[in-house]
């Protein structure tokens, strides 16, 4: 896989856009999904997503080899998404010892789309929990991989995922089938 991707990068460097199209189609969904879930805002997510791949294209054009493209792109997605949150003042440092969840979620009776409700719920939990949970739940990363990716210990990863689950159940509980509103 990595050898094939090295060849694809060489081809992009030689001006072959079809090689970049292969890489783009391979990784665009996980990168965009991560951005959208972290940012909770599709318009901002699309801007970040474009920046990530345009920058990736520039790097490929220089012929720079990247060992693990998915890891590189997910790290870029995380950094750019958190930067976007900081710009929007939606990011605050997390006190790992503070076990109380400060959820900024209010149930919206007017929102009829279930997917929208779920995305709003996900956006309500702190981004630090969210990123660990998204990587674990949707992208299939292990604790160790998330630990490496986020630069935190395994236990912290485990704790954040646990808290994210608790928070999401609490928020989404009114939507469960046996709990009619």
């Amino acid at each position: 896989m990595q050898d094939e991707e090295s060849v694809l990068i060489q081809r992009v460097a030689a001006g072959d856009d079809s090689a970049f199209a292969i890489l783009f189609e391979r990784y665009k969904s996980p990168v965009y999904r991560f951005c959208a879930m972290i940012l909770g805002d599709r318009a901002t997510a699309e801007d970040v997503y474009q920046e990530i791949f345009l920058n990736f294209y520039r790097i490929c054009r220089t012929g720079t080899q990247i060992g693990d493209i998915k890891r590189y792109l997910m790290a870029a997605a995380r950094n750019r998404s958190l930067n976007a949150l900081r710009i929007q003042n939606r990011y605050s440092t997390l006190d790992e010892e503070d076990f109380s969840l400060h959820l900024s979620y209010q149930y919206d009776d007017t929102a009829t789309d279930l997917n929208e409700q779920v995305q709003r719920a996900l956006a309500a939990i702190p981004p630090q929990y969210r990123e660990a949970f998204v990587l674990f739940e949707f992208e299939g990363y292990s604790y160790e991989e998330i630990s490496t990716q986020l630069g935190i210990s395994n236990n912290v990863v485990r704790n954040r995922i646990y808290r994210a689950r608790q928070a999401l159940v609490k928020i989404l509980e009114p939507l469960f089938n046996d709990n009619p509103r």
Binding site: D16, D17, E46, V118, Q119, Y162
Partner: protein, 424 residues
């Protein structure tokens, strides 16, 4: 770890101790509240995963990205040469397909060579067409037929005389020696009997039509007349040395043609002569760019069917310009590129006009580059001062099909070329 944490650990795959799993399952079996907790977690996961599947980038976002990439590419030409391309060729024109293509080209050429329209079976001593006038050909044909008929008559007459001599010698008590023994062929015996049935076989003239157009001393007809008029004697008569019909009588031209060099190898250099010119896309060119090597085999027929079959391989910077329309249909992008491509091709060369050492050759070719199939039509003027060496100049039109983002685009180039060919 409390029960709630154990439930989440179980869902996350962290609860690996069998006794812990057994304890948790026991708690779940007896506690309604714990079962509710587990079901909520499962419902939440299902809901989130269902929602996540709907999160995909829009086509508009993709189109904007490609637009940005096109602008980026236009601003900064590629700094590196092409190393390898994911090839349309590899996907659709694998090695077996390439071999099949070459085989078809070869078979079609051979069939064209062998099934060319011929009104009669060519004889070994037929002169090649185009080297003599039709009048000369007619005269040669008439002479050939006359000679053949005279040869037949001569054999018949000779055998008849031999039979008469044998009968005379038997009547006079002489036994022909083995030296004088004449073999009478069965098919000629009947002809001799026909002659002997005539009432005055020895005195009357045989009713044999004799053409009068050739009376040269070496003419077989005169020999036959001399035999007829000669007095019958017992002296041994030598059988005339006759060439059988159909014996190979090569013409000088045919001898020269069979000695022609059939295998040739050469080098050809191409120069892009026309559109699309994309000098602004100049990238680092490998030293072997726009050159090819080829090997040819000449099929000797008549001059008009002196086909050459050949294989060529080389590298060429193929200028390409095409419009792409992404799936969203919102953005039309013009792609311009001129990558150096490796290619191979099989070709058929057919002579058109030959004047002395100069000849024009039409070349049809099919092959593939590393990005897709290509075709070529070329016309060359060849100067061959000696049979083993030739120089050529010419022009050729090239077509290349390129796979780009899942679609195939066709590009055309016109090139000039010159080259050297050596026979072996």
């Amino acid at each position: 770890m409390n029960t709630h944490e154990q439930i989440i650990a179980l869902l996350n795959g962290d609860l690996k101790n069998d006794s812990d799993v057994a304890d948790l399952l026991h708690i779940l079996s007896v506690s309604y509240e714990k079962r509710r907790t587990l079901l909520k977690q499962l419902q939440m996961s299902r809901m989130l995963n269902g929602s996540a599947r709907t999160i995909t980038p829009s086509h508009a976002a993709d189109a904007r990205l490609w637009q940005s990439i096109a602008a980026e590419k236009a601003a900064t030409p590629s700094p590196l040469p092409l190393v390898e391309r994911d090839s349309f060729w590899r996907r659709f024109f694998s090695l077996p397909a390439a071999l099949l293509l070459l085989l078809l080209v070869g078979i079609s050429t051979m069939m064209g060579y062998w099934l060319r329209p011929v009104t009669e079976t060519p004889r070994a001593y037929d002169a090649p067409s185009g080297t003599m006038s039709s009048q000369m050909r007619g005269q040669i044909q008439a002479l050939t037929e006359t000679t053949d008929s005279l040869q037949g008559l001569l054999v018949t007459a000779h055998d008849s005389l031999a039979l008469l001599r044998t009968q005379n010698s038997m009547a006079s008590g002489h036994t022909p020696s083995s030296q004088n023994r004449v073999t009478i062929f069965p098919e000629r015996r009947s002809a001799a009997r026909e002659i002997l049935r005539a009432p005055t076989a020895e005195t009357e003239e045989l009713a044999i039509p004799i053409p009068k157009h050739d009376r040269s001393p070496s003419d077989p007809m005169l020999q036959a007349m001399a035999l007829r008029d000669a007095p019958v004697s017992l002296s041994p008569l030598s059988r005339p040395a006759l060439s059988s019909r159909g014996e190979h009588i090569p013409w000088e031209d045919a001898g020269e043609r069979s000695d022609k060099t059939r295998w040739r190898a050469g080098l050809r250099k191409y120069m892009r002569a026309s559109f699309p010119q994309m000098t602004d896309l100049a990238i680092q060119q490998p030293p072997t760019s726009d050159q090819e090597i080829h090997i040819n085999y000449k099929l000797l027929g008549t001059e008009r069917t002196d086909f050459e079959l050949g294989l060529a391989a080389g590298q060429m910077t193929f200028a390409q310009r095409f419009h792409t329309m992404p799936s969203s249909g919102t953005q039309d992008t013009i792609v311009e590129q001129s990558p150096p491509l490796l290619y191979g091709r099989a070709f058929i060369g057919s002579p058109l006009i030959n004047i002395g050492s100069f000849s024009t050759v039409l070349e049809l070719s099919a092959g593939a580059a590393s990005v897709g199939p290509l075709g070529m039509v070329g016309l060359s003027l060849e100067y061959r001062p000696v049979d083993l060496f030739a120089v050529e100049v010419g022009a050729s039109g090239w077509m290349l099909a390129t796979q780009f983002r899942g679609n195939t685009y066709t590009s055309f180039n016109l090139n000039a070329h010159w080259g050297l060919t050596i026979g072996f």
